[in-house]
């Protein structure tokens, strides 16, 4: 008997044994198969909304409209804060430049004729 014939006889016996599996094992295998099929269907699902959540492909989920609004509001607040900070820094830089020029006596003579500058000079020296 050659290798293939011998193997075929063993395989025949093994196949016969498959029909003798206990009920609970067969049921558990069927349950596992059902779960796998559900998973495969979810994995290959096209893009769509599931309530407030955007779902697509292999279980990918994206936040819905309300979450996007919250994130946008947060971004708006953060942008406003940094913009305000930047303006403050710029103003501080302008004052520092005037101070430096004042100390080095490099201010143009017209500045001393400006009433606003005179007021500012008096306020800042108090």
């Amino acid at each position: 008997m050659n290798e293939s014939d011998f193997a075929a006889k063993i395989v025949t016996r093994l196949n016969e044994s498959l029909g003798q599996l206990d009920g609970p094992i067969v049921r558990r295998l069927a349950g596992a198969r059902a779960r796998a099929i559900t998973l495969a269907r979810e994995a290959d699902r096209p893009m769509g909304w599931e309530g407030d959540v955007l779902v697509w492909g292999r279980g990918n989920r994206a936040p819905g409209v309300s979450w996007l609004l919250i994130v946008l509001a947060l971004l708006f607040v953060l942008t406003g804060f940094f913009y305000w900070e930047r303006i403050q820094q710029q103003r501080g830089g302008d004052f520092a430049e005037i101070d430096a020029k004042l100390l080095a006596d490099e201010l143009p003579i017209d500045v001393y004729l400006d009433n606003g500058f005179d007021v500012w000079l008096r306020q800042s020296s108090e």
Binding site: I10, R13, L14, I37, L39
Partner: protein, 198 residues
């Protein structure tokens, strides 16, 4: 139209997967059982393999399912043994610190399950002989080295060709042929010793 086509393709694909799994699940269980020798563990291994195939490869052509599934199954069995090795190491280490002789009243006979007696009908002598032959074959398969058993089952039971079996086992085609040849020779010797005629 595109949605209809997409849905149709999706249903066809999941039907192919369902048919494939239905055809292979019992053999896969036996493969796992030969390797791990515990029904509950074998069921866990098969379930894990099914879920991995469905999650990662359900979009692949159905013709590739057998090779992919067998590869996943072999890897899952290997992972099980790796985890078991680590678990055994830690449990040995921890139990060496614990008090000795806790389970001396334990009787191993109490844990033996009584097999269901659902095999009524037919010629009892023939059924008994069939059961003994099958048991002998299964014991002979369990006794084979793991790689020889894998090669034999993949080539002859799963009907994979040499290249597919090699891909599933992660070895060369030459190794598959060698493992198969040795497996057949070893099985023939063991079955002859047991007095089993095929």
């Amino acid at each position: 139209m595109a949605w209809g086509f997409s849905l149709g393709a999706l249903l066809a694909s999941s039907r192919e997967l369902a048919d494939f799994l239905a055809g292979v699940e019992r053999r896969a269980f036996k493969h796992a059982l030969f390797a791990v020798r515990d029904e509950a563990l074998a069921l866990d291994v098969v379930q894990d393999a099914m879920l991995k195939l469905a999650e990662k490869y359900s979009g692949k052509p159905a013709a590739e399912y057998p090779m992919l599934f067998q590869r996943i199954l072999q890897n899952t069995v290997r992972d099980h043994f790796r985890r078991q090795k680590v678990r055994n190491f830690w449990s040995t280490l921890i139990s060496s610190f614990g008090p000795a002789g806790q389970d001396q009243d334990h009787d191993p006979l109490e844990t033996l399950e009584v097999k269901g007696s659902s095999n009524f009908g037919g010629d009892p002598a023939a059924r008994m002989e069939q059961a003994q032959t099958l048991q002998g074959i299964e014991e002979a398969l369990e006794g084979l080295p793991a790689r020889q058993r894998q090669a034999f089952l993949l080539r002859y039971w799963e009907d994979l060709d040499v290249s597919e079996a090699a891909a599933a086992m992660g070895c060369s085609e030459g190794s598959v042929k060698t493992h198969c040849f040795r497996a057949v020779r070893a099985l023939a010797v063991v079955l002859r010793e047991k007095g089993i005629e095929l």
